[in-house]
Symmetry: D2
Amino acid sequence: MKSVIGKNITLALYGESHGAAIGIVMDGLPAGIKIDTDFIQSQLDKRKPKGKISTQRREADDFVITSGVFNGFSTGTPIHIMIENKTQKSSDYQPNLPRPGHADYAAHIKYNGFEDWRGGGHFSGRLTAPVVAAGAIALNILKNKGITVGTHIKKCQHLTDRDFENYAEDIALCNSKYFATLDETAGQNMQQHIENIGADCDSVGGVLETCVLGMPAGVGEPYFNSVESVLSHYLFSIGGVKGVEFGKGFEFADCLGSQANDPFEMQNGKVVTKTNNNGGINGGISNGMPLIFRVAVKPTPSVFKEQDTIDLTSMQNAKLSLKGRHDPAIFHRARVVADSMTALALLDLLVQRYGERWLLE
Amino acid sequence: MKSVIGKNITLALYGESHGAAIGIVMDGLPAGIKIDTDFIQSQLDKRKPKGKISTQRREADDFVITSGVFNGFSTGTPIHIMIENKTQKSSDYQPNLPRPGHADYAAHIKYNGFEDWRGGGHFSGRLTAPVVAAGAIALNILKNKGITVGTHIKKCQHLTDRDFENYAEDIALCNSKYFATLDETAGQNMQQHIENIGADCDSVGGVLETCVLGMPAGVGEPYFNSVESVLSHYLFSIGGVKGVEFGKGFEFADCLGSQANDPFEMQNGKVVTKTNNNGGINGGISNGMPLIFRVAVKPTPSVFKEQDTIDLTSMQNAKLSLKGRHDPAIFHRARVVADSMTALALLDLLVQRYGERWLLE
Amino acid sequence: MKSVIGKNITLALYGESHGAAIGIVMDGLPAGIKIDTDFIQSQLDKRKPKGKISTQRREADDFVITSGVFNGFSTGTPIHIMIENKTQKSSDYQPNLPRPGHADYAAHIKYNGFEDWRGGGHFSGRLTAPVVAAGAIALNILKNKGITVGTHIKKCQHLTDRDFENYAEDIALCNSKYFATLDETAGQNMQQHIENIGADCDSVGGVLETCVLGMPAGVGEPYFNSVESVLSHYLFSIGGVKGVEFGKGFEFADCLGSQANDPFEMQNGKVVTKTNNNGGINGGISNGMPLIFRVAVKPTPSVFKEQDTIDLTSMQNAKLSLKGRHDPAIFHRARVVADSMTALALLDLLVQRYGERWLLE
Amino acid sequence: MKSVIGKNITLALYGESHGAAIGIVMDGLPAGIKIDTDFIQSQLDKRKPKGKISTQRREADDFVITSGVFNGFSTGTPIHIMIENKTQKSSDYQPNLPRPGHADYAAHIKYNGFEDWRGGGHFSGRLTAPVVAAGAIALNILKNKGITVGTHIKKCQHLTDRDFENYAEDIALCNSKYFATLDETAGQNMQQHIENIGADCDSVGGVLETCVLGMPAGVGEPYFNSVESVLSHYLFSIGGVKGVEFGKGFEFADCLGSQANDPFEMQNGKVVTKTNNNGGINGGISNGMPLIFRVAVKPTPSVFKEQDTIDLTSMQNAKLSLKGRHDPAIFHRARVVADSMTALALLDLLVQRYGERWLLE
């Protein structure tokens, strides 16, 4: 089960950056789900590189669904989504010089030299495109159940976005944008900052913050399938993610229990918590409040500045000057991947709790 | 697969805080592993509450192994470890008043009132005792393969421990202590701080930092079974853990790529990285450097200060004043749970890569 | 996942014939299922050896439930059922002389001499006792949903029982008996036959036939999780089972398609098939007709006649004369194990289709 | 995990008979396995319909590998094999008239009318083509480890083939033929018989017998992952398979233990059994003898004779006269699917025991 995930909704991911095609097999959806191909394409568009803040490799990312959808609805059998690669340029890569911060060296040891090194091979960020396509299906299903997901760019170095305030509106706001900040000026500043850093042959990291609204209480399992365990498993599957925290997260270490606990109260006949420091999860189980979590995305390891590395042929120290097309930042593109992974993880937990038929109710 | 985890080394965990017994079934070990019951007991002792910084519930935690071990060695068939509960005091708990920050309310919704509410039931921290017992077996196996694991208390509010310096020595140092700081004075200060907070009817959170030394390069899988994905899945299974970060983690958001990348170099004929910002993992695969990661542990939700809650019977607002025996901090006891979860997660990944026979080589 | 099975309802089985205890952890049941301990005991009683047709080892098989049940109802968290071993007599076994037809030799190679050889160790038929206990819970749940399961002894050498006729009555009839034939005389003859064979220091095999009534149409999955695939997986987990066939089974090889197909017709507004050659399963999916299948159980390999074997110490040919307590036939005791495995397999498939909440509706 | 199977070597199968393409994602192979595309094609050719004993739908079955293979060797990441459908003729099918013996009705209930009914959709035997392609890779890996697999047509109504005699030669003989009987005359007679039955608008079933030579002792797991459990799970995934038996199988019910047991003896310094009634498996574990098992394949349900069915639109009784292209027998084509499923199941068990690196040793 190396490249397979999910108990109820399973995903099998395949492909390489410069191979013929990348794709995903999504299984476990009930029959009768309307498949909105326009929404899938619009989500893929959010992942696409644009402007000067992204790589100049510009793939069309036209997807085909070769099975599992009939007359516009899911058939209940596996859905296969495929995207052909079209603009490979493998000559930019040197297999003997592993790029610092990339999977190159670890993959070389793991696969004993048989890895497809072209463009990072299976480790390329391109593999997130099929995940976004499958995620779009999941997001739509959740939306039909009243559960919405939105992610904004919380931070890029010293530049920060405002916090979520009105959840429903802010989620809609994130999802309407390509560069997803809640504060427009913050977004403009960040984009200018990324552009400057790219011009300086460098790259930069950031923090994404996700909100899930409408999540019912009682989802998730104690211990090994806590909401945090399952969500983090999916989120850390995104290349470049190096941290995940829920609610107050690492800030809890600065808190007293009396500050950290979220007292319950009745509000319009409904149980809510007065604060949401726990990010909507208690004991691994959703408590009915919005889920709030953040992921740290490291700077793209592909920088054009000269770097120290080793030569895998001679096993000597060497210098590396990257060529090719690379992103000065990926967190703004990773945003929609985070939404997708979130939706896929939660969908699996929801089906575990309510059964697949619930998705159609 | 709710309370089951692992692909090659599987764990099935059961029990409630005030039930007859708690335990774990550990399957997948090859035959012929020496089982060191003294080491298991010594690890359980590290988890036990001690002094004024822990709960006054003092269980003996005597474990029995009822299967899978014969003449002191693993038989290759499932190992069942059981610990009887002996000092339950259920009268301290009020099932109708969910404790803020605890699983009580979420569990009540999830299990529709059928949950065993006594002492937190299945959600109790007591369930980590069998995990520690299984983890002790895993830690010993790793040690025989030259892989050592150590966790220290990095932070508790404003008080911080020093960083790992000499990995091998520092790991040994952590593992020799009950309150695991590398700096003795920092540890004394933290313990005094916890005691003071406990005296004030409150509790406090902290950050743990783990180092794994001797991890070979090439372990882990791309995407859905990255080292980060698998480790975080296990770590977030520990009650109270609300954040996990690898290497620089959330600090990556403050970095440029040129600062964040870890350049390769040859050192005594071996490939190393000059820095270890990525915490020993590139592209989800171990790169041969020490694994470094941190977990955020929230303050124990059980505080003696009066708190707002609701009454599940009347569905009205209510006040809660906890009685019973509770910890003013749990991170120092969670330390050995983090070691255990780490060992269990890595053992699974190592067996996936090298096969179970490798454990005996 | 060696001794673990199930996607939604998972079982982790442990124990050895002469170890301290055997048991099972059953996870995945929703909260609020009434647990009928009398029924569990009555099912265990059906598995117990009785009279001269069974081994003289007579275990009480008193079970304890140490977790997952509270006030008589499932809590929704793992149920642990344990049975202590009390009448071990290991001196009857010679670890160096593998018994023909038993797991002894294969286990010796597999576990490299570390296996618990006493009484067959983990491979003992005793391990089916916890399966029967878990199966009893499953059978009760199915019954509440209108699904009943019954198994009769179809054949023992030349002696045969009559076929199922009135399903509902015949299922009740099987389940009311210890030696489960539909025809009472056939049963008497078989029991006498087994007794004679036992007196002759030999053993004998048989065929069991199971009927599941009330199974809704649409359960099971195409290909890898067909009803046949899943049921056979569970049924072949029973020691001694060497064949499984559905509907006409191997007789299909004698048939033309025009004879084998089951034509559909409307009957009282309901779709039925005129015949049921396919045993209630088409394309791996239940079609609403009764499930019918048979399992072949080989003769108990433990016969008192002298047998050829090898000596694992000297690696020379040797003679083996068994001592101890053995069954001249096990199929009549395996009957309730077949019922249990059937219920556990179907419960998993039903939860996959309808969700766990359906079990409570 | 509906259309996904395997613990170490996973398969995700997708596609419909009349959809754009069918395919499989195979994951878990180590890097460095030579992929022999000629052998894959030759195996697909054995599955293809030929002559008058098969359907007249003649697909080229040209496969493409879009990922996981680089410079002729496995990369260690998922292999995606795809086959386009080219000769669909959906007008031959009537969605409102379910074909007796087929999945049509059960699928209609399961998928609530959203199923792709064209040509049987996902339930079509066409889906076995990608399984054969993946199986070819597995068969080649096993062969390199000295393990060979062969299946012959044991029986078709009154016509029978001879038993396996010289295993190695007979396996080679099966594998050299399209219609795989060991006795050439038996094969000619069977083909003539199938042709006659086809001319009579009917179809016929048969029994396949498989031998696996070179299987090491000690593979498989007790109880839930016995060799029988795992093999039967895969074999019952083949459409039309309704029975699986190992060694003497159902004949065991006619045997005494003294006849059924396989006595051990030393032969040229090696442990063997004098007979092989258990088909190479004791206690669920391979014992080093050849694996022998049989599967019953029912007659193709698509017969041209008029049949009774119901009309799903009017919910009235109806008559069905099939049009289109159908096989009068499928067992001769299913033979290579049985080989493939066998190889895939055993490969998974072998990797579980020896680790993936063993495949390359």
